[in-house]
């Protein structure tokens, strides 16, 4: 397909999406949450699919964005642009710190330390009065992105949906561009063959750190909008629900497919919103979906991580994916 035609089709699809919740009978809230959680999941997706590591700290970046937004808007009356900047900064700073600490860790130990970081963050959020402690922060004002005479505000879910959609589309575009970029190609090389990457003159540590920080921006931005959508931020953001939701969204459909995390999120949140059997059964479905996607369906995350036999196979021709040309 030619470029202009593709762009036109994408625009039509975006416009249809914009109107879809209205046609479906006022489902703006559910659609907004799907878009927001999908954006959060894309942060994790970049690390899982492109860097080949499983981060369990992306709920921290998500929560960092949400907390920064909640605290600045309620305590200092900051506007939505300021809170966006703060959310991105908070996420990036935390990711940089954690990324530096875990720079030389791989695979299981990397996942373990990121999980530990989530646990520490949860304990801090529960206990630190500055962050609102167990009560969290409530009464967050509504989103207002007005610039000069241009009024851009969202007082309810129906008005918020377009902003969530724009954030999602920006994210999709950014992820697509990232995968075509030099950094994306280097990340893939680092993932598939760190040794070869080093010998090709790639600074493996730097690529990992950059990608990790970049990925945190998506999750933090999602947290920013989530704070406005829910008008409340609390330590429940660190509960396993959000972690399991993001992980499931990433592994459910397939890896390195641009729309997979979005479809995954839509399936999960859609089930909870439209086909709900109560919180307990929903938890069973979500947990079961994660177990199924990884343990039972062949080519779930299994294909992504491919830790099949740390030892070389008996035949020296271990099949590897062809390396993308940088």
């Amino acid at each position: 397909m030619r470029g202009p035609l593709r762009a036109l089709l994408a625009a039509v699809a975006a416009a249809a999406l914009l109107l879809l919740p209205g046609w479906a009978g006022g489902l703006h809230g559910a659609f907004a949450v799907i878009a927001i959680m999908a954006v959060a999941a894309y942060g994790l997706d970049i690390v899982v699919s492109d860097l080949g590591e499983v981060s369990l700290a992306h709920t921290v970046f998500f929560a960092a964005g949400a907390y920064a937004t909640a605290l600045l808007s309620t305590r200092l009356g900051a506007g939505s642009w300021a809170t966006l900047a703060a959310a991105l900064t908070a996420g990036a700073l935390l990711a940089a710190a954690l990324g530096l600490v875990t720079l030389r860790l791989r695979e299981f130990v990397f996942s373990l330390v990121t999980y530990a970081a989530t646990v520490v963050a949860a304990a801090v959020a529960h206990n630190w009065p500055l962050l609102g402690g167990s009560d969290g922060v409530s009464a967050i004002p509504t989103l207002d992105l007005s610039v000069g005479p241009l009024r851009l505000a969202a007082g309810n879910d129906a008005q918020l949906w377009p902003y969530a959609l724009v954030l999602l589309l920006l994210t999709l575009y950014a992820v697509r561009q990232f995968r075509r970029s030099r950094l994306g190609a280097m990340a893939m090389m680092v993932h598939l063959n760190p040794r070869l990457a080093t010998m090709s003159g790639i600074d493996v540590g730097r690529v990992r750190l950059l990608v990790f920080v970049l990925s945190s921006l998506f999750s933090a931005a999602a947290g920013w909008l989530y704070a406005y959508q829910r008008a409340y931020v609390g330590p429940d953001l660190f509960e396993t629900y959000f972690l399991v939701l993001m992980l499931t969204a990433v592994v459910l459909v397939g890896r390195r497919r641009l729309l997979a995390p979005l479809i995954g999120t839509a399936l999960i949140v859609g089930q909870e919103r439209f086909l709900s059997f109560g919180g307990d059964v929903n938890a069973i479905i979500l947990g079961g979906a994660l177990v199924t996607a990884l343990a039972i369906l062949p080519g779930g995350l299994d294909g992504t991580l491919r830790r099949l036999f740390a030892r070389p196979a008996p035949r020296p021709t271990a099949e590897r994916e062809p390396l993308p040309q940088p």
């Binding site: 099949l308 036999f309 030892r311 070389p312 196979a313 008996p314 035949r315 020296p316 099949e319």
Partner: protein, 243 residues
């Protein structure tokens, strides 16, 4: 003709879509030492591993494997071991963190099988070196000692058929013929051996029958004496020389 103690039919092994091995029939008679030779990548290791249903990788294996007439092709590796098939994998794999004594003690003939495995005295008689190294950890052994330990462990399982994967690999040329002569000495009415060996020249001196593999298929097979002058075997010699 006597019933073969080990017989494989239509044995096929594939990694993903690549067929690594396709063998219509391969049999080992009681008391026979069969050598399987071929170049690197001809499927020799794949063959012995498939007979035991064992591999470090995850190949898909199909076909029939009969041991003493009993079909074992669908059984897991440990069950085939229990029925009298033992494998010494390539490189003389031993438990590095266990002592030599523990490595030996860990291998035992299952009760009620009616078979008899090597006891300690027989192991020491065969490999006096192991007795000297009894309390050393597996990781402290040399390559040759590991190979001895791996073979001794397999013999303690009282196998009917012993599968040996490249026992001479990494050994000095002088040791190669010594190891192969030791293997020859193991064969008896109750123990047959299937020996996979890259060193055709050395193998042909000790085996009863030779099977030449190439690209996962049997190219030629026959008594060792007759195979000696087979042009395809000569070609394999040359291949060896090139390698």
């Amino acid at each position: 003709m006597t019933r073969p103690v080990l017989e494989a039919r239509d044995l096929r092994v594939a990694y993903g879509g690549n067929v690594a091995l396709d063998i219509p029939r391969l049999a080992v008679a009681p008391g026979e030492l069969v050598g399987v030779v071929g170049a690197n990548g001809a499927g020799k290791s794949t063959l012995v591993n498939a007979l035991l249903g064992w591999s470090r990788g995850a190949p898909s294996v199909s076909g029939s494997v009969r041991l003493d007439g009993e079909e074992i092709g669908a059984r897991p590796p440990h069950a085939r071991v229990a029925r009298g098939l033992a494998l010494v994998p390539e490189g003389g794999a031993v438990f590095l963190r266990l002592s030599v004594a523990d490595n030996l003690a860990a291998a035992n003939v299952p009760r009620g099988s009616g078979r008899r495995g090597y006891d300690e005295e027989e192991v020491y008689a065969l490999f006096p070196r192991l007795q000297e190294r009894l309390h050393h950890a597996g990781s402290a052994l040399s390559g040759g000692e590991r190979q001895m330990l791996a073979i001794a462990r397999a013999l303690r399982l009282g196998p009917r058929v012993l599968l040996l994967d490249e026992p001479s690999i990494g050994l000095a040329p002088r040791l190669v013929s010594e190891v192969l002569r030791t293997v020859r000495g193991l064969v008896g009415p109750n123990l047959s051996v299937l020996l996979v060996e890259q060193n055709v020249r050395a193998a042909i001196e000790v085996v009863d029958r030779l099977v030449l593999l190439e690209r996962g298929r049997i190219l030629a097979e026959g008594p060792a004496a007759a195979m000696r002058d087979d042009p395809r075997i000569l070609a394999a010699y040359l291949g060896e020389a090139v390698a």
